[in-house]
Symmetry: C2
DNA sequence: TTTAAAAATAATGTATACATCAAAATATTT
DNA sequence: AAATATTTTGATGTATACATTATTTTTAAA
């Protein structure tokens, strides 16, 4: 369950413990988060647990002392912002990406075709991370980074249910970037995210 | 020193006290933030002060226990994101804004021409807030809301030094929205923010 | 039986003491 | 005097007790 933890201030181990409990479904959407309960469960005092909860609230994984369960609207909102920001980042990638980074991007595509579940998960995450980082814009990188946890919940779904054409779309984006075609890269990224959104919405509706 | 505090979780009074000390320059960029010092100064214990500091770190007003002093790069990054998000929101405004909200937007323009310093400050903030809210996207609204504090630092500068054409640009944007011309509204908003950026950069350079 | 009030319980907010870590100042050695 | 140890001071991290607020349960009344 890898995640780029950015260059942000260090945090207490309980932060990752709680986050992972949410991401792997041990704490499911709607569960009440009680400080003292987590504190005794994880073997820390309330103080660092409180800090971790605050941080998870900032990231949107906890809302009003409950584990978030994103609605269809939340999902649409999140993807709307992602399309704007990652679309723009894709233009930057087409303009600025070095040969070495292009090579890395290609590797992510290849792992996406042949890797294990966990490998595919982190390759997909890395694919998007390389593109976002190419924006060279810390504000943008931080915003996407803060969305990562919720994005993760859905990326998991998309990979688990083996969404068709996912890797093909990544390859198309990679090719547009390689060709230095900024407009095409942006458009393809936006279409790609739109497909992800539709796939997630589809699953969300079947579940309810 | 008004700010829309969003619909987020309530906070301790010390949060606003510290934030305002930063925004009005009482605590200037680079100042070391010491928990115990603020606690005794403001008359609270360290616990709520710590919370408030964490939140200000999250908003970017405090970085590594110091009051932020945004660099030229920070400014460019922030405005790049604003141009994407507020540009998109302007399209939404042109499409969805009600007559009542249009009227409010017009009032902001009028106050911008005739109001006092404080009135102009909050009218300008309100102008942007109405447009951003019209996106009807909580994720986007929250991102911009979190940027507000740092934006405030610069909006202050822009109004204080009486940037030329600021209100004319607002009026142009208002007219495009009123005409329901989404593409034009987006383009004008982006140009407007680009001008703001250049004006701030200009001042930032003269100061150093 | 339903509703409202009161009491009891649970959870979070706040203060504070102590522990650990980081930085600065002093002392010691070369 | 310069460089390195050592001590001291300062600041943040952590645990915990108490205060306040919110929630639930119980009791009483309609």
């Amino acid at each position: 369950m890898l995640r780029n933890q950015g260059s942000r201030s260090s945090h207490h181990p309980s932060y990752e413990m709680i986050r992972d409990k949410i991401l792997n479904g041990e704490l499911e959407g709607g569960t009440k988060i009680v400080e003292e309960k987590l504190a005794s469960e994880l073997g820390f005092s309330r103080t660092p647990i409180r800090d971790s909860i605050r941080r998870l609230e900032y990231e949107g994984l906890i809302v009003r002392k409950k584990v978030v369960s994103p609605t269809e609207k939340d999902l649409r909102n999140l993807f709307e912002v992602r399309m704007l920001l990652e679309g723009s980042a894709s233009k930057a990638a087409a303009t600025f990406l070095s040969d070495k980074e292009l090579e890395e991007l290609k590797e992510c595509v290849d792992i996406g075709r042949n890797g294990s579940f966990e490998e595919i998960m982190s390759a997909n995450e890395r694919f998007h991370a390389i593109i976002v980082n190419s924006s060279n814009n810390d504000v943008m990188i931080n915003i996407i980074d803060r969305m990562q946890s919720i994005i993760y919940l859905f990326r998991h779904t998309v990979v688990f249910y083996n969404r068709p054409f996912l890797i093909d779309e990544h390859e198309d984006i990679y090719n547009a970037i390689k060709e230095r075609n900024a407009e095409k890269a942006e458009a393809l990224m936006q279409e790609h995210l739109q497909k992800d959104l539709e796939f997630c919405l589809h699953l969300l509706q079947r579940r309810q």
